[in-house]
């Protein structure tokens, strides 16, 4: 059950001109959050901008006693609201609504978990990695960006025992090209007998490619979709994608805020997904 908290900004760690990590005091949300869930944040005290903005829960923050004390978000500047969040200062208060959405289902051993992240799509994977680690599921992260400088927080994953595979389009770090290049190689090399569950989040083109690769190689794949969201609670029907129900059948416009953001990739009608 989501709550709305006036969360104090604990820290705003700038990663680059366009990326920052914002830490927010929100115990109730941190406590209830499950991997891959998101929050709706009011990026200004006034009505400019009017609507909240959706953000994946990046980290669960804990106090000395280990109790969940807050969350962080991994923010990329793309417009009005995300720009405000790059500038917001320690001590400021932000209304944070959550946790929201259908979480990732962490897979159990002996299956392996492969997380595929493109750019800001890295956001939902720290919480998933932690959950997988608790299950002792062998986990890999395939993480791609345009160049080396745009690969962030890799250490967080290494600390969680995740095998990290990097790719940059300019080859400045890791494999050259899209992250799907090393991913495809790994899928080829992987004997079908050894089960793998894929989890993908990133640009639509990347998730579409992951969905195809998963199908080609007969692997299960969940994607976390990012549609424009008006409410995050199922009230406005703004966030739909064309997707089949679990039981298959005709695809329908499905709300990604409550039926997602996590979907089995094969349910989604990718031709209809914008971007």
């Amino acid at each position: 059950m989501p709550v709305d908290i006036d969360a104090a900004v604990i820290a705003n760690r700038r990663l680059s001109a366009d990326y920052n990590v914002l830490s927010l005091a929100a115990p109730e949300i941190a406590d209830a959050a499950r991997p891959g869930q998101f929050v709706m944040i009011k990026t200004s005290a006034g009505q400019d901008p009017l609507l909240r903005r959706p953000f994946s829960i990046f980290e669960i923050l804990r106090d000395r006693s280990g109790a969940a004390s807050g969350i962080s978000i991994f923010n990329k500047r793309v417009g009005v609201g995300t720009s405000l969040l790059t500038r917001v200062e320690r001590g400021a208060q932000l209304a944070v609504l959550g946790p929201l959405g259908r979480p990732f289902e962490p897979i159990d051993p002996p299956a392996e978990a492969w997380m595929i992240a493109g750019g800001v799509g890295l956001a939902p994977f720290v919480t998933l990695a932690a959950a997988l680690r608790a299950r002792e599921t062998p986990t890999s992260l395939f993480y791609g960006a345009r160049r080396a400088e745009e690969l962030y927080c890799v250490d967080l994953f290494e600390a969680l025992g995740v095998r990290v595979v990097l790719a940059t389009e300019d080859g400045s770090r890791g494999a050259r090209g899209r992250v799907t290049v090393p991913l495809e190689l790994a899928l080829r090399d992987r004997p079908l007998g050894n089960p793998v569950k894929m989890y993908a989040c990133g640009p639509t083109a990347m998730m579409r490619a992951c969905a195809r690769l998963a199908a080609d190689h007969g692997r299960a794949c969940d994607v976390s979709l990012e549609q424009v969201m008006g409410c995050g609670l199922g009230g406005c029907y703004s966030c739909v994608v064309l997707a089949r129900s679990e039981r298959g059948g005709e695809p329908h416009h499905t709300r990604t805020c409550i039926d997602g953001p996590v979907f089995d990739a094969q349910r989604v009608v990718w031709e209809a997904v914008s971007g």
Binding site: M1, P2, D4, K42, Q47, D48, P49, L50, L51, R52, A95, L97, Q227, V228, G230, C231, L233, G234, G235, C236, Y237, S238, C239, V240, V241, L242, H252, H253, I258, A272, S274
Partner: protein, 312 residues
């Protein structure tokens, strides 16, 4: 303090109604809002059959507002009665079903079906959705059309009928009058303003549907004026809406002439606003020693101003 409102045969505990299309089917909010604590819930617009609506993008934010072109995606009246109404009934919600039709017969048919369903308290006739070509708006933009659909539905149901008026007309009060004459129990206004936004770099509309409806605080001053005009034109109750974001806004609409209000867009921003709205209204009644909230309806004092005006 008495916050209640009478709409035809229906009594609402308070004037705060969730606006259609802004509160899903109500059940989506059952975990975070006590549905019975709302004056009423106008559920998402329903056609007879299921409907996919428009492709995304379906909304875009604008200054102090938003455009939407959902295209009335909905599960149709039959599934609504089977799959949603029971929970709404169980939770004690006052249910106002917002209905749409592509033909007059469809409105009549839906109204007939709803009249036999247990737990439906009123019907809001959506003849004002700006972003679907077929139906709806064609009735809402013609006086005979409005009169016709209200009269036809009136014949088949005892439920309170509340035609919802469009602001995209020259004289909204004439439509309120037509609705009253045709036997409406109340009118609700405003629906959204037809509008659009363009991505200047792709030179494409930001909405898949090209145009959409503008809602939110941006439109409030126009909506209040329209409620004020309708109040002077009809005797039946008025349900006012458009940009309500605080209890002061609720009171503004009521002083202008609304007996009840609907709250839409701001519920997206602040789904927990309902309790605060009620508290704010109570505080105002306290401060001004108002026992019955209905006593402020349509009490705008224009004399002082008119004098001032004449004095020049």
């Amino acid at each position: 303090m008495d916050l209640s409102v009478q709409i035809g045969s229906l009594r609402l505990e308070n004037p705060l109604i969730a606006a259609s299309g802004c509160f899903g089917y109500g059940v989506e909010y059952a975990d975070i809002v006590d549905l019975a604590s709302l004056g009423g819930i106008a559920v998402k617009g329903l056609f007879l059959a299921e409907r996919e609506g428009h492709p995304p993008p379906r909304i875009v934010e604008t200054p102090s507002g938003m455009l939407n072109a959902i295209g009335l995606q909905g599960i149709g009246v039959h599934r609504f009665i089977r799959e949603r109404l029971p929970e709404l009934r169980r939770r004690g919600a006052t249910v106002i079903v917002n209905i749409c039709g592509t033909t007059l017969d469809e409105y009549v048919e839906i109204a007939r079906i709803l009249s036999d369903a247990e737990g439906v308290h009123a019907i809001e006739l959506n003849i004002s959705c700006p972003n679907i070509k077929e139906g709806g708006i064609t009735f809402g933009c013609s006086l005979p059309g409005t009169h016709g659909v209200v009269a036809a539905v009136r014949r088949v149901t005892r439920l309170p009928i509340v035609p919802k008026l469009t602001p995209n007309v020259t004289d909204v009060s004439s439509f309120a009058r037509a609705a009253e004459e045709a036997g409406a129990d109340a009118v609700s206004l405003v629906n959204t303003f037809l509008a659009m936004a363009i991505d200047i770099h792709t030179r494409r509309p930001k909405l898949a549907n090209i145009v959409g409806g503008l809602s939110g605080p941006a439109i409030r001053p126009i909506a209040v004026r329209m409620v004020y005009e309708c109040r002077r034109a009809v005797k039946i109750p008025i349900i006012g809406m458009g940009g309500i974001a605080a209890s002061d806004d609720v009171l503004e609409f009521m002083i202008a002439g609304a007996n009840a209000v609907q709250v839409g867009t701001i519920n997206f921003v602040d789904p927990f606003i309902w309790a605060r709205l009620k508290d704010g209204i109570r505080a105002y009644m306290q401060k001004h020693a108002i026992a019955r909230l209905q006593d402020i309806v349509g009490t705008l004092d224009t004399n002082a101003r008119e004098k001032a005006w004449l004095s020049t």
